[in-house]
Amino acid sequence: MTAMSTPRIVWHEALVATAALVIVTAHGAAAELDEVRARGTFVWAADQEGGGPHVFLDPERPGRLTGFEVELADMIAAELGVTARFQQGQWDRLPLLLGRSVDCVINGIELLPERKRDYACSRPYFAYGLQLLSRRDSPLTAFEQLAAPGPGGRWRVGVLTGSAAEVFLRSRHDLEVDVIGYDGTIDSLEQVQSGVLDATLIDDCIFNFYADRFAGLRAVGRTVAGGYYTVLTARDTPRLTAAIDEALGRLIADGRLKALYDRWDLAGRQQILALRDAAEIPVAGRRSLRQLAADTLPMLLTAAGMTLLLACVSFPLAIVAGLAVAVGRLYGPAWLARLLTASVEVVRGTPLMLQLYAIFFLLPKIGLALPALVAAVAGLALNYSAYESEIYRAGLKAVPAGQFQAALALGMTKWQALRHVVVPQAVRLVMPPVTNDFIAMFKDTSVCSVITVIELTKRYSVLALSTGRIVELAVITAILYLAMSWPLALLSRRFESRQERVA
């Protein structure tokens, strides 16, 4: 985002990123059972963000993790003769941690055919049902209503990205539903409560846990589908996987698992009965590379279109706003200049992700619910306008004072002098750094995934995890990014060489 880096950086970054991805995903050696025992600790990964009742920060003992899976991890570790150590990760990317410092994932990971294909899955340890939730004042009172459009058109239903709820809803082509993926379950509950979403589909145990906090929500009918949670391990640690299976078997047989679920108000007896009757889940087939490309390319291209749209709409707004801010700071009244300076510092001093989060999740609380795409464009434009304003300020200052004075001396107003003489020269001066920032924004659009916008990086991440073809899709995604940013880099270089000729 700095003004001075050259477009070559883009190539460089993309290549390094691709190489890093390839190296990271080229199966690192996962620790087998004997290594886990030798080190004496068993590292399990989960996402504590809004993760009740699974894994969450204990409100009574700040800083301490609690949840039924925290206790389960301790119990499994004890069975293995080691102690459990927690590792935080983003929920939909937890499986990627396997084989890299993490021995297993215990975090409400549903047993699905795709997961059985890509990872080793333990025997089920918990039975969940998918529960649809809506606001108490919503016209949505039965799941079947989703088959026809609602009063506001297609129903907007939030899900946890990568969850069985998402897989289930996306497979139901008979429903008039726009599925919106969130990075945390709390996020979608919040958005139903604030009226941005019509409903959310989540695991029933999560609703039981948060029902009091989200008192404005109610269950729509009974659970519509269900399945089992599994402990994920890497495919190349069969002895560790077997040991976890045996540990779970003992915990089920001697009643400790039932007692755990009863402590957490999770209906221990029904859980044990459901686990006893668990049916075998099939393993998903592996697609050929050609099939993979045919299946994923349309989605990746659509997502690339979203990336392009975000950058191409946000950046012109950022440029216009940035120029206005720069002119206001340099030529406006003192109070305005101070106000703008403070605003620029606030925007520059806080992360883009936080700004997007505030616009999307906090504004609805004061009655301003923006659609995700609008919020994304607003956030990107706001964030980049601060940086562009700094560039323009430098550009305006670089125009010799005599130009402004000569314009004034002809009887022009301050604004006429700026518009016809100073600003055109400043704009020309800042062309290279501004183009460079356009390329930077291009890549920053990926941050918008935190507010449910599915752009290229998010689409890649979702597809890579659902297909298990992490490396192949990374290469395709990198090529798409380069195809979009390369013309920009050329453009930027042309501006620069033109500058050199004029100077």
Binding site: G402, Q405, A409, L410, G411, T413, Q416
Partner: protein, 229 residues
């Protein structure tokens, strides 16, 4: 046309101008001379409001400037009537010679773009540069740039033109070509105030010479009286 009375200005506690009085009559040319730092340019820039002053008054082409910050509207009217030519030319770097001349009539006086361009060519022709209408300032010599700057000032048909050391940044050959244009304007009856080091130019164009020393009027009178024969 111009009456400066009791004009005083201090900058950072140092006197820049002290009790300056002089008048410029319509159709006449006043040269302001004096050593560097004597306040010549400051005086000129006060006359069209590019700088403020602390005491005294200036009336110019029927407008009256008082000490301190003046309303923007008043300054815009003063500047339409008082064109200015700078030592460093200050041609608009983003525009061609023709566009430099045509810009102010178009955006300030509301002349149509076609008419402003047509008149710009006439004015460039008057300073001998019609062939350079499409040239950018960076490609012109200093003398050419200053002649375009004079055409630019003329385009607003000002009642008076203020020259701030118009030849100081030029070599002798270019000084001569710019001087010819100024002499030509003087012959045509254009009211002008010329701040200059160039006594030869002052003798040729001025009807009155004001000599400033340390911000005060040291001498005022006909060229022969102030500059010697």
């Amino acid at each position: 046309m111009i009456a400066v009375a009791g004009l005083s200005k201090a900058r950072g506690g140092v006197t820049a101008l002290a009790d300056v009085d002089f008048e410029v009559r319509s159709g006449e040319v006043t040269a302001i001379v004096g050593p560097s730092g004597s306040g010549k340019s400051t005086l000129l820039r006060c006359v069209n409001g590019l700088e403020t002053f602390d005491a005294g008054s200036i009336s110019i082409a029927g407008h009256r400037l008082a000490p301190g910050l003046q309303p923007p509207r008043l300054l815009e009217r003063v500047r339409r009537d008082a064109g200015m030519v700078f030592q460093q030319f200050n041609l608009f770097a983003n525009l061609t010679a023709q566009e430099n001349v045509a810009l102010a009539p178009r955006v300030v006086a509301g002349v149509s773009a076609a008419e402003a361009s047509r008149r710009a060519i006439q004015l460039l022709d008057r300073v001998g540069l019609a062939a350079f209408a499409a040239a950018r300032p960076a490609t012109l010599s200093g003398g050419q740039q200053q002649r375009v700057a004079i055409a630019r000032a003329l385009a607003m048909e000002p009642k008076v033109i203020l020259f701030d050391e118009p030849t100081s940044a030029l070599d002798p050959a270019m000084t001569a070509e710019v001087s010819e244009v100024i002499v030509d304007l003087a012959r045509g009856g254009q009211t002008m105030v010329v701040v200059t080091h160039d006594h030869a130019l002052a003798r040729r164009v001025a009807t009155q010479v004001v000599e400033l020393v340390a911000g005060r009027v040291a001498r005022i009178g006909p060229p022969a009286a102030v500059l010697g024969a």
